[in-house]
């Protein structure tokens, strides 16, 4: 499997001189199976340069797995140029939205209303299919299987796991580590803690032993108290999670948009220094636009 990062920034695209090394595009990850089938994880603004890179291969069949439909994970979709060219095929997978009672097709076609974008869905030339996924539903994409698990974010967010010929990668999408909403003295505290423990076990099992874990690492432990409940992870929390799950390599992504490259590299080094490497620990790295990983 090959993984290429086209967008690694969280929340909002952040172009400019301070983000040149890691990049300013929002989340979009290309995964190629051993049989070269194309899987795309999220459709942030990084989807536009990805689209440009696909021209030599047209016509294509792409399988787009949306973790959730917040702007920074879908904003590149209308600019996915193969959609305007006959012969291409895009299969889109994602969760139901219980708040709006809409499936993934209804949510995403809302993005193509005329007031937001000049081309209506009916005018797109590619063949586009929508598949609203149940939790843990498995999708076969050529020689790979893709399954999902609900993570913790202020909208339903699927983390995806791709397995291909014995190699595996998990992308969390946006995910905040679960915390107890009760105080220790509250009578409900113990029951809630038990639910969290069960869920954490499910999350750890989902990513157990994967070759690569790509995890939302927006915050520092020191940022976190002011941003609790916003649905994002920390360096320290992800290192602990990756250790617990026996992950081989951990990539920190969804970089906080106000963090310049220098600061990002510094806080990453500080986090790693707080958790000295021990035998069996995952290798921990920052994502950057254009980074290619082969497993």
């Amino acid at each position: 499997m090959k993984i290429k990062f086209w967008g690694v920034r969280g929340s909002i695209a952040t172009p400019g001189p301070t983000t040149l090394r890691h990049g300013g595009n929002t989340t979009c990850i290309e995964v190629r199976t051993d049989a070269n089938a194309l899987i795309i994880l999220d459709a942030g603004t990084g989807m536009h340069p990805l689209a440009l890179s696909l021209f030599p291969e047209l016509p294509i069949t792409a399988h787009l797995f949306i973790t959730h439909t917040h702007w920074d994970h879908i904003q590149g979709l209308p600019f996915f140029i193969p959609n305007f060219i006959p012969g291409n095929s895009l299969k889109i997978f994602g969760a139901f939205d219980p708040i709006a009672q809409r499936d993934i097709r209804e949510v995403l076609t809302g993005q193509l209303q005329y007031c937001y974008f000049p081309v209506r869905e009916a005018e797109l030339k590619a063949r586009i299919e929508y598949h609203t996924l149940r939790e843990r539903q498995t999708v076969q994409v050529a020689d790979a299987t893709v399954t999902n698990l609900l993570m913790n974010h202020p909208v339903l967010n699927y983390g995806y796991r791709i397995d291909c010929n014995g190699k595996s990668v998990v992308f969390t999408g946006d995910h905040e580590h679960l915390t107890n909403i009760y105080e220790p003295e509250d009578p409900e505290y113990a029951e809630y803690a038990e639910y969290i423990e069960q869920r954490n076990q499910a999350i750890v099992a989902f990513m157990r032993g994967v070759d690569v874990l790509i995890a939302d690492t927006s915050y520092l432990v020191s940022d976190y108290p002011a941003k609790k409940g916003w649905g994002h992870g920390t360096f320290d929390g992800n290192i602990a999670l990756a250790r617990q799950a026996g992950v081989k390599r951990l990539y920190f992504t969804h970089h906080e948009p106000t963090r310049a490259d220098d600061a990002l590299e510094r806080v990453c080094q500080e986090a790693l220094a707080r958790h000295p490497f021990e035998a069996g620990d995952p290798e921990c790295l920052l994502t950057r636009e254009g980074l290619t990983v082969e497993i």
Partner: protein, 293 residues
């Protein structure tokens, strides 16, 4: 049979208890920093509401791998934000009584009540009231016809006759009710407001929404509910059971609200979309077996 004067005390006794969850959820969620456990506590204290929420979360559409058994477990799996936002729509529906004895009239009433609540809140926003005060307008609009729901539930045969009489004679429904009940939904609304200890403005919205022209009122709430009721009927949101619709607002109401019926109707904003969402919830509800919670 309908209530006579002697039967009034029994009627009052039979009136439903005030369902406070919706008010508490609206107040809590107007603060973005509201502790999640406070929202869960409201749901803990309202088992029917909690059941309906779990029913939606466990619906096949939502696609959870394992059904959740409790609100606390649901918060861990789908997150507090999803629970909070579901509760914001489900609690008002539950308040109006989404039970098994619903009839086409009650379905239409539910949509009408929702529309009047949403429009009354929109009118309050248009007047520049602070957002934290506008939930009272929503509640008052939601409850303004509750007397009708109570009459229909307690005396379904006679109330159906009143509905038919109103259509046949082209009477306002409250006049048809008076012919058959000696009491109309406004009177029942006033009794309810008294029993529930609601504010005088909310009581006026429930007991006098057809005659709101009270220049001495120090709140725009009765005016907003009165106008919202007419706007909802004008644009056909829900079914009030009243065959007659006013074609204009009283001049004094239009002056106080700063717009004619046409102008206010033109400022509905997202309300038709909100109503569509309510209908989708009702559809999902109806499509989900009751025991799936």
């Amino acid at each position: 049979m309908g209530p006579s004067k002697k039967e009034l005390p029994r009627l009052v006794e039979a009136l439903p208890a005030f369902p406070p969850s919706v008010c508490r959820i609206l107040k809590l969620t107007s603060d973005i920093n509201c502790p999640p456990r406070e929202i869960v506590r409201v749901l803990d204290q309202d088992p029917p509401l909690a059941r309906q929420l779990l029913r939606l979360i466990n619906s096949p559409h939502c696609g959870l791998a394992e059904p959740v058994q409790s609100i606390r477990q649901a918060v861990v799996i789908v997150g507090i934000n999803t629970i909070k936002n579901l509760a914001l729509t489900v609690a008002p529906i539950e308040m109006l009584g989404r039970d098994s004895d619903r009839t086409p009239f009650l379905e239409g009433q539910l949509s009408h009540a929702f529309a009047v609540g949403l429009i009354a809140r929109q009118l309050a926003r248009r007047l520049g009231l602070p957002e934290r005060e506008t939930s009272d307008f929503f509640i008052a609009g939601l409850l303004h016809d509750y007397g009708k729901i109570v009459l229909h539930r307690l005396f379904p045969t006679r109330h159906n006759k009143a509905l038919a009489l109103a259509i046949k004679k082209q009477l306002p429904l409250h006049k048809a009710e008076r012919e058959l009940f000696k009491l109309d939904h406004l009177g029942v609304g006033a009794l309810l407001a008294e029993k529930w200890g609601l504010s005088p403005h909310c009581a006026r919205a429930m007991g006098g929404h057809h005659l709101p022209d009270d220049p001495d009122s120090d709140s725009p709430l009765p005016d907003c509910v009165h106008a919202a009721n007419i706007i909802a009927k004008t644009v056909g949101l829900g079914v009030s059971g009243n065959p007659r619709t006013k074609t204009a607002l009283p001049e004094s109401v239009a002056r106080r609200l700063g717009g004619t019926l046409t102008e206010l109707t033109g400022s509905l904003g997202e309300i038709p979309a909100e109503m569509h969402k309510v209908q989708l919830f009702l559809n999902a509800w109806n499509a989900t077996p009751a025991d799936s919670a």
